[in-house]
């Protein structure tokens, strides 16, 4: 019951947001936050549910962003088509990369994906004829405006783009929720809990791991496409390893293996640096210290910690035990 109310409240808050905070700056931040939430949701599938930490999410986001922008600018495809095709291109790239990477486990896997992100970044910087190098690509158009009845909806408007990314996030969350309830989702969680046992039970784990990796990468690619057509300018900088780490932090901060965790985490990783701007050059140090403190004292993340608090409060009041999740 509490849960349904919360979900409804969050959804309502998301829809009402542009009317509550009308400043362009806040809407801009909110769009970025939602794009990062999509990336974090993807990271959560491989990291939180499957138990493999991939440090290549920002790189895959870059593949999605550049392929979407280039297909639109050079091949003249409509933006909407690019937004559908670019996650598929990202998926293909991650399929090729995932096959060798998933032969190894634990730290090895993390390091290999980290190297993969560096490779993507180096290619983005050095393949100048295609990507424009450090100079980047400018003039990427927003999605074509659509006409419903007699109302024309233009995505050049920030508020409309906000609703577009919000709808995209909703769609992504629905897909992930359905995935988690399916057999595939159960197998993924079994792999996280005990891969040897899952293997012994007759599951071809590598297929599921590969699926999880490709799925999370294509979500990052989708987010990249949304990013490209929002910013209208692309340079390699947002797709560096630092930003992959940000996605991981979002998952850990919010609570890995929960659907709400990445939302909270990604929101914080976008909002915190802005809030902490007061401290200026000390900002990132405070950020780092905060991170260390959270991991030491709240190792499961904010969302599980908060829901424990709420559950304890509810139980204390009614005196009867509530069901565990």
């Amino acid at each position: 019951m509490i849960r349904l109310v919360l979900i409804a409240a969050v959804a309502f808050g998301g829809i009402a947001f542009p009317y509550l905070l009308t400043s362009n700056y806040f809407i801009h931040l909110a769009i970025l936050a939602i794009i990062w939430m999509i990336v974090a949701q993807g990271a959560n599938v491989i990291q939180g549910y499957t138990g493999y930490v991939s440090i290549a999410q920002a790189g895959f986001m870059g593949i999605g962003a550049y392929s979407s922008a280039l297909l639109n600018l050079n091949a003249g495809w409509p933006v909407w088509i690019c937004m559908i095709v670019s996650p598929l291109i990202t998926a293909a790239a991650s399929l090729i990369a995932g096959y060798p990477s998933l032969r190894v486990k634990g730290h090895y896997f993390a390091i290999v994906t980290l190297a993969l992100n560096m490779v993507i970044f180096i290619v983005l910087v050095n393949w100048i004829p295609v990507t424009g190098g450090e100079g980047g690509i400018a003039g990427i158009p927003a999605p074509e405006s659509i006409r419903i009845a007699d109302i024309e909806i233009s995505f050049l408007s920030r508020v409309n783009y906000y609703y577009l990314v919000l709808a995209a996030l909703g769609l992504v969350m629905l897909i992930i929720a359905a995935l988690l309830r399916s057999r595939v989702g159960l197998v993924l969680q079994a792999i996280r809990q005990n891969e040897t046992m899952a293997e012994a039970a007759g599951v071809a784990c590598w297929r599921y791991k590969l699926f999880s990796f490709v799925f999370s990468a294509s979500l990052a690619g989708f987010a990249g496409s949304l990013y490209a057509h929002y910013m209208s300018f692309l340079s390699p900088a947002p797709f560096s390893v630092d930003h992959s780490l940000n996605a991981i932090l979002a998952v850990i901060l919010g609570g890995s293996g929960t659907l709400a965790g990445p939302l909270v985490g990604a929101g914080l990783t976008v909002a915190l640096p802005e809030i902490l701007r007061i401290a200026d050059s000390y900002r990132l140090i405070i950020y780092g210290v905060g991170l260390v403190i959270v991991v030491i004292f709240l190792p499961r993340g904010l969302v599980p910690w908060l829901s424990d608090l709420v559950r304890r409060a509810v139980r204390g009041r009614t005196g009867k035990p509530t069901e565990g999740r």
Binding site: R103, A110, A115, I252, L291, P299
Partner: protein
Amino acid sequence: MLVDLIQQLFNGLVIGSIYTLVALGLTIIFGILGIAHFAHGSVAMFGGYLTFFFIQQFGIGLFPAMAVAMAVGALLGVVLERVAYHPVRNAPPINAFIIALGLTLIIEKANLLVFGVDQVIIPTGFDRVFNIGGVTLPELRVYILGIAAFLVVAMTILINRTWMGMAVRAVAQNRPAAILMGINVNTVSMFVFGLSSALGVAAGVLVGALFAVAPGVSGGLVVKGFAVLILGGLGSIPGAIIGGLVLGVSEAFASAFVSSAYKDVIAFLLMIGVLLIKPEGLMRRRSNR
């Protein structure tokens, strides 16, 4: 052509010896504690800045400055272990990794605040250039190779011949048994972090003398260190030595004969190739993790 090959081999060995120093620090930490110590590169850069600072402010020579910086680096390593890694030793490994990322942010930005944003080149005064049969050997690079070799040998002796080294190897092999034998694992952890950070600082100083100490160098350095670990096998000391040299030489060849912009890509392709063919690393017979 042959001269070119030898020239690139020499260049590669010099770079590779620095990678080896970085990787040795990472590999002993990984072997003992199972931590991917991502902040290692930032510690190395801190040492580079500190050495530069000592030379500039107190006018002492390169080697005393480097020795003091290594001692300070060792102390920093012990503090990091106590304050940040020790509390999460029983949590899932990802938590220690996130701690490492947090530490990287902290040290990296602290470097910026304390030492400024400019890149610095550590002055050495070794400007002579030797020429043997057409192969140019800058004095500085020869010394770097020598210093690195000396440190590697010193560390090997420390690990193989001393009581503390024996304790370190025992914990790496079998932690519970080592505890039962009365080895204080806390002391070993601190020792390993101190030793590793001192080696990292040495690597940072050599990078600073050869190229420059600058913000942003540390990330590349630490990733190269991990690439070496994958090549050689996580936790393996001979693997780190061989892997570092292999990576350095292949990078030098790649940048000389293929493309200098893509030399890092080639290093990573090498790493992925090793993973495909021999996932446990070049120097390990089989994986026991």
